[in-house]
Amino acid sequence: MSPLIELTGVSKILKGQQEPRTILDGVDLEVNAGRSIAIVGRSGSGKSTLLSVLGLFDRADEGTYRLDGQDITRLPERRAAKLRSSHFGFVFQRFFLLKHLTAAQNVSMALVNGQGWLPRRNRRAQVMAALDQVGIAHLARNKPPRMSGGEQQRVAIARALVRNPKILLADEPTGALDTETGTSVIDSLLAATGRGCGLVLVTHDRDHAARMDRTLDLVDGVLTERVPA
C-alpha cells in the first residue's frame, strides 16, 4: 500500500535580508494511513515549517512531495486549497475558534469553505458526528468563551475531523493545556488513526510523543528516526 504522504529530499531555505538559512535539509518522510508520527525538536528546529510544507501552506524549495502517489510538489494555490479541504485536518496550539460562533458553527466552518456545498441538514449531521467523536456533542450550542481550554481544543479537533480527512496535522495541540486535558486531547487524535487517518503530531512533550507509532527528531532541519531506548 503506497503511503499517504511521501516526502523525498525536501529542503526549505529561508531567504531573508541576511544570509539564506536552511530550515529543512533533505527531509525524507512517509505518512501512512492509520499510523501516527511524532515530530519532536527544539524551538526553531523547523517543526512548524515541516508541518507547513506537509499541510500545503508552503512549498518545498527542493525535493518532491507525493500525496496519494501524485506528485504535488509544484501545486497552484487553488489546487492546494482544494487538497487542504479534502485531505487534511489541522489542529493548532491555539484553538483559533471564532468567539462569535457556537461550537457547531466553528466546526461547520470547515464545511462552508467554498469547496462544494452541503445542504444544511447534512452539514448539521456531519458537525454533530464530529463533535460526538470528541465527546462534546452536548456543547454544540456553546460559544468558545463559555468553554474550558480542553473543550475548545476538542472543538478544534472536531473542526479538523469534520471532513473525514486522510491526514491530521497537529502543531503542539496540548501546548496550552494541563497534563490531564492534554492526554485526553491526544486520545481524541489517536482515536482518529483508529479510523484510518494518518497523524503527524508536532510536540515538545516526550510522553505524548511516546504514544505515537514513530517518533522523529528534527535537529537543524534534519529529520532522523528516534530509536526507542
Binding site: S48, L51, S52, G55, F57, D58, E77, R78, A81, K82, L83, R84, S85, S86, F88, F90, F92, Q93, R94, F96, L98, H100, L101, Q105, M109, A110, V112, N113, G114, Q115, G116, W117, R159, R163, D171
Partner: protein, 423 residues
C-alpha cells in the same frame, strides 16, 4: 428556482455571520454611508417628481405622449372635412377654436382680446374701410376662446377637474351651449359680473350659455370648452372657423389611428396642407432636466465617496483584526477568492442595508411632506415615491459596497496562511 453556487452561498453565510458578530462596526459603516446614499435617493426622487410635475402640466396643454397632432389652416372647407371624417370615429377628436365674448355686445371687455385678467393687451378698435379707427367703449364683458370639440378631448389632454361636471357627449346637443371654463375664465366670471349672453362672430344670434364646470387646463388665458355640435345649432361648421385668425383647427389622434392618413389625404385633395407632430414630452422633459440632474447627482456622488472612504476605513480595520480568522479559513481549504468574496459580501450587504434605510426614510419623508404641504403645493399632492429613486439608492449602495470593500477584500485574500502556524 435560482441555484446559487456553493462559493456564493458560503460568502453570503459567512458575510452575514461577520455582520452579526460586528454590529457596531456595521452600524458605523452604515452611518458613514447613509448620507451619500440618501443624497442619491433624494436627488433622484426630486428629479423624478419635478419631471412628472412638469410632464403633467405639459400634458394639459400639449397632450399625452404618443398623441399625433394635426394642425391645419382654418378654412371652412377644411373644418367641414375634419368634422365629417371624425364623425363617429374613436381615438380622435378635433378642436376648433373660436373667439367669443360673454357680456355686453360692442364694448371693450375687461380682458380685451381674451387676455389673462392680470394683463392688459390693449383695447380693440373698430376700423372703417377708409382707415378711421375708434376704440370701443368700456363695458361689462369678458373675451375668451371657445374650444369646440367633436368628442372628449380629455383622452389626449387630461384636464384636472376642479368643480361641476364635464361635457356629456352622449346626450342630444343642447340649444343653450354648455361650457366648461378653465380656471382663469372661472376667476374672471367670479370677479366680474357680466350679462349671460354669448357673442360669437358669424352666429345667427346671441346665445345664453350654461356654465357647467371648471377644469384646470394649464392655460393662463380664459378659455371655455364646448361641444362643437351645440355651437353648430347657432353657426355652421364652416362658420365656426375664423379665416382671419384664431387658433385654427387641431386634430388629436391616438397613436397609430388610421384616420390620420384619411384626413391628410382628404385635406390635401382640397389644397390644405397639414402639419403633423407627435407629442414626446417625456423625452423633452428629460433632456431639459438632464443637466440639473447630473449636477446634483455629481454632488451626491461626492457625498457618497466620503461614505465609501468611511466604509473602506472600517473594512481595513476589520480585516486587520481578522487576520487569524482568514488565515485559518485558508488552512481549512477556503480559496483566496472566497475570502475576498466574504469581505465583499459584508460590505455589499452593509451597502444594501444602508440603501434600504435611505429609501425607507426618503419614502416616509415624501409621504410626510405630501401630507403636510400637499394642499399648498399641487406637485406634492398624492405624490408617490418614484421607483427610479429606489433603484438608484440600491445601485448607490451596491457601488459603495464594492468600492469600500474592494481594497479590504484584496487584503483579506492576501493574508499568508502561515499566520496560524506562527501564532
Amino acid at each position: 428556482m435560482i441555484r446559487l453556487s456553493g462559493r456564493f452561498r458560503s460568502a453570503l453565510i459567512i458575510g452575514l455571520q461577520g455582520i452579526r458578530a460586528r454590529k457596531t462596526r456595521t452600524l458605523l459603516s452604515m452611518i458613514s454611508l447613509f448620507l451619500g446614499v440618501l443624497a442619491v435617493v433624494v436627488v433622484q426622487t426630486g428629479a423624478s417628481i419635478a419631471e412628472r410635475a412638469r410632464l403633467a402640466d405639459v400634458e394639459l396643454t400639449e397632450g399625452i405622449d404618443g398623441t399625433t397632432v394635426l394642425e391645419l389652416n382654418p378654412t371652412p372647407e377644411a373644418a367641414k372635412i375634419v368634422v365629417d371624417t371624425l364623425d363617429g370615429s374613436t381615438g380622435a377628436t378635433a378642436l376648433v377654436s373660436v373667439a367669443a365674448t360673454i357680456g355686453e355686445p360692442g364694448v371693450t371687455a375687461v380682458n380685451p382680446g381674451g387676455s389673462p385678467f392680470d394683463e392688459d393687451w390693449g383695447a380693440p378698435q373698430d376700423c372703417t374701410p377708409d382707415g378711421v379707427c375708434t376704440a370701443r367703449p368700456a363695458g361689462q364683458a369678458i373675451d375668451l376662446q371657445i374650444s369646440a370639440m367633436t368628442s372628449d378631448v380629455r383622452e389626449f389632454r387630461p384636464f384636472r377637474h376642479r368643480s361641476g361636471e364635464w361635457l356629456d357627449f352622449t346626450t342630444i346637443p343642447a340649444l343653450a351651449p354648455r361650457l366648461v371654463l378653465n380656471e382663469e375664465a372661472a376667476r374672471g366670471f367670479a370677479e366680474h359680473r357680466v350679462p349671460a349672453e354669448l357673442h360669437i362672430p358669424g352666429a345667427t344670434s346671441n346665445i345664453t350659455p350654461q356654465f357647467i364646470g371648471v377644469v384646470d387646463d394649464g392655460n393662463t388665458s380664459p378659455t371655455a370648452y364646448a361641444r362643437l355640435d351645440e355651437l353648430n345649432n347657432w353657426l355652421s361648421a364652416e362658420g365656426v372657423v375664423d379665416p382671419n385668425g384664431g387658433n385654427g383647427v387641431q386634430v388629436m389622434l391616438a397613436p397609430g389611428n388610421p384616420v390620420a392618413q384619411v384626413l391628410t389625404a382628404k385635406l390635401r385633395g382640397i389644397g390644405v396642407d397639414t402639419y403633423a407632430r407627435t407629442i414626446n414630452s417625456r423625452k423633452d422633459m428629460q433632456d431639459e432636466l438632464k443637466l440639473f440632474r447630473l449636477i446634483f447627482l455629481a454632488m451626491a456622488a461626492l457625498v457618497l465617496l466620503i461614505g465609501v472612504a468611511g466604509i473602506l476605513n472600517v473594512g481595513l480595520a476589520t480585516v486587520g483584526e481578522r487576520v487569524e480568522e482568514f488565515a485559518l479559513r485558508r488552512a481549512v481549504g477556503t480559496p483566496r477568492s472566497l475570502l475576498a468574496g466574504i469581505v465583499l459580501a459584508e460590505t455589499l450587504l452593509t451597502g444594501l442595508l444602508t440603501a434600504a434605510a435611505a429609501i425607507g426614510l426618503s419614502a416616509a419623508g415624501l409621504k410626510a411632506l405630501s401630507a403636510l404641504f400637499g394642499d399648498q403645493q399641487p406637485f406634492l399632492r398624492d405624490v408617490q415615491f418614484p421607483w427610479e429613486a429606489g433603484v438608484a439608492g440600491i445601485i448607490a449602495g451596491l457601488i459603495a459596497g464594492i468600492l469600500g470593500g474592494f481594497v479590504p477584500a484584496l487584503r483579506a485574500a492576501g493574508i499568508p496562511i502561515a499566520t496560524v502556524m506562527r501564532a
